[in-house]
């Protein structure tokens, strides 16, 4: 399995091998075919299979892997490096040295005149250009159009769940769409900071494109690790989703192949035969918890660490998993007997900033994944599991009855309601009040099956979902639009 390294840690020989393979690919004509694929995606406008939608990350994962495999056919030792611009963020960073990417553009034309990709080498003439552009040389204008993303901005992006949200495009709310936040707030500025050729539809003309996107792919992989079970959204067939962006949609332009890649096929990057140099080299060991035993001490010892615990439920019943201490941890519960089967997640339902999950559990093995709320922070905590008294009942909203009252009392709180659709038909779920709520509808019967989400389709900042539902039990999750927002609200269901 190839290991993708931070470019700043490459040896001179590794840099030289990467550059040589890239230039050989350019010489073969394959490089420009890849550039044209990227340009064609943009030119599809609203039907772009690669940008401005859920498949932005899967499409580029597949695209980068194809590029990397092409390089490896030239030199099997080469892997894609990544450019961590939260650290290497100045024009004097080593990435821009003349033995690697070359420097900034100079002169009125902003031509890149140094390094292996300078036009003067005779080996880097741009042939795939944006419509109307005739510039055959690489151009850059560092910082002319904004700054590179900061670590804080990356941390904020990585804290966003779910993966994506309606309307499943470039207009998705960046507080409810990890993908759109990563794409619009983190990825786009990277292109803009480099400027010149990197701002174009044909941006892979600049080889730093691959290093930039490799870092974006790494951040997605980290988000996936920190949010196991947070599946790619949306499923194929979701109304309004552009072809290629559904979970099992073949992704253009590779949809003509016998076994075309889909977003689902690239979700686990390890199956694509690569890993990143900052990933744990072994599967994290889990620590067994005993129900009813005293709390077990643990710690998030390094930024981004995920601790895994297991416990065995032999008698079905209600159980409470909770943390103690002053560290702001986020806890996810998975199982039974499947560490990837997501049940629920909690941030601050316990005392202070502790996590607490109370749940009716059937027999089996359960998995608890704990991380710090901030992916850049560490701290000590303890954790325990106990058989509990009754689980707090999920309030029921009477269809066509009075509105139920709720309060988001702390940041990131998620309130759950249930309602019974007695007959098939159109149902309207709507909040009222001055709190900017965001609602998610799940079911039928399963509180983990997402149907729809909404932010502001109701009056003012209220949420409204109108859905055709079969008869059954449904669940509505209410949270504040902002991660730290609080306030009272009412919620009603009408048929």
């Amino acid at each position: 399995m190839g290991i993708r390294k931070n470019q700043s840690s490459l040896t001179p020989a590794e840099k030289s091998a990467f550059v040589a393979a890239v230039k050989a690919l350019k010489g073969s004509g394959i490089y420009d075919v890849l550039v044209a694929q990227h340009r064609a995606a943009f030119l599809a406008g609203p039907n772009d299979p690669a940008h401005g939608g859920p498949a932005f990350l899967p499409w580029h994962r597949e695209y980068l892997r194809r590029f990397e495999r092409a390089l490896q056919e030239i030199d099997a030792s080469v892997s894609l490096p990544y450019w961590d611009w939260t650290i290497d963020r100045t024009p004097t960073a080593s990435i821009w040295d003349s033995d690697f990417m070359g420097g900034n553009g100079t002169g009125p034309s902003q031509q890149v005149a140094t390094g292996p990709f300078a036009y003067s080498t005779g080996e880097w003439t741009l042939t795939v250009l944006d419509p109307g552009n005739t510039t055959a040389f690489l151009t850059r204008a560092f910082g002319a159009m904004g700054a590179l993303p900061t670590q804080q901005a990356v941390n904020t992006a990585k804290s966003v769940v779910p993966y994506d949200s309606p309307p499943w495009n470039a207009g998705s709310n960046v507080n409810t769409s990890f993908r759109n936040r990563l794409e619009g707030v983190i990825h786009n500025p990277g292109h803009m900071w480099v400027g010149g050729s990197m701002m174009a539809m044909s941006s892979p003309n600049d080889p730093v494109f691959w290093l930039h996107h490799c870092n974006i792919d790494r951040l997605w992989a980290e988000w996936q690790t920190e949010n196991p079970g947070r599946m790619y959204l949306p499923p194929s067939g979701t109304p309004g989703v552009v072809r290629g962006h559904g979970l099992d949609d073949p992704m253009p332009p590779w949809d003509v192949e016998a076994t075309p890649p889909t977003p689902r096929s690239v979700l686990n990057h390890h199956t694509l035969d690569y890993s990143y140099d900052n990933e744990p080299t072994t599967t994290p060991e889990s620590l067994a918890l005993t129900i009813g035993a005293p709390p077990v001490s643990a710690s998030i010892g390094r930024a981004g660490e995920v601790d895994i615990f297991t416990f065995e439920v032999s008698a079905p019943g209600n159980y409470v998993i909770e943390t103690q201490g002053t560290t702001d941890v986020v806890m996810g519960l998975y199982g039974p007997d499947n560490s990837d089967s997501f049940i629920t997640e909690d941030d601050d339902s316990g005392a202070g900033q502790n996590s607490r999950i109370a749940r009716d559990l059937s027999s089996g093995t359960y998995y608890v994944r704990l991380r710090h709320y901030s992916s850049s922070s560490t701290g000590n905590y303890s954790i325990s599991v106990s058989a509990s008294a009754e689980q707090p009942a999920v309030p029921t909203i009477e269809v066509n009855g009075p509105a139920a009252a709720g309060v988001i009392s702390v940041g990131n709180e998620r309130d759950m309601f249930t309602f019974n659709a007695a007959t098939s038909g159109t149902y309207t779920i709507e909040t009222a009040g001055n709190t900017d709520c965001f609602i998610s509808l799940y079911g039928p019967a399963n509180p983990n099956t997402l149907i729809a989400q909404d932010d502001d389709s109701g009056p003012g900042a209220n949420s409204r979902i109108v859905a055709d539902l079969a008869s059954g039990e449904y669940f509505v999750q209410v949270r504040h639009y902002g991660p730290s927002g609080t306030g009272p609200y009412n919620i009603a269901v009408k048929s």
Binding site: A44, A144, G195
Partner: protein, 85 residues
């Protein structure tokens, strides 16, 4: 036909939509979804534009900073050209 003219930092932005825009020769090549797009020029030079999935506009050489209107996009392009001088 509709035409909108605006001066920005000494540069002339013209936006034409409707029949007038459609009558103008387009850049050849892969044109995707541009058939009904308005025509944007800066100082008489035509700027190739296309709408993204959310209806925002991007331009040739300016794909990663979508703007809600072609005129806003033209201003961004002018800002960039000014900044790189």
């Amino acid at each position: 036909m509709a035409e909108q003219r605006e001066n920005y930092k000494g540069r002339e932005i013209i936006l034409r939509s409707g029949a007038e825009a459609r009558g103008v020769a387009r850049v050849s090549g892969e044109q995707g979804a541009i058939a009904d797009e308005p025509e944007l020029t800066i100082d008489g030079k035509q700027i190739f534009i296309v709408r993204n999935s959310a209806g925002a506009y991007i331009a040739s050489g300016f794909a990663f900073d979508p703007q809600q209107s072609p005129v806003d996009l033209a201003k961004k392009i002018i800002d960039y050209e000014e900044a790189e001088r």
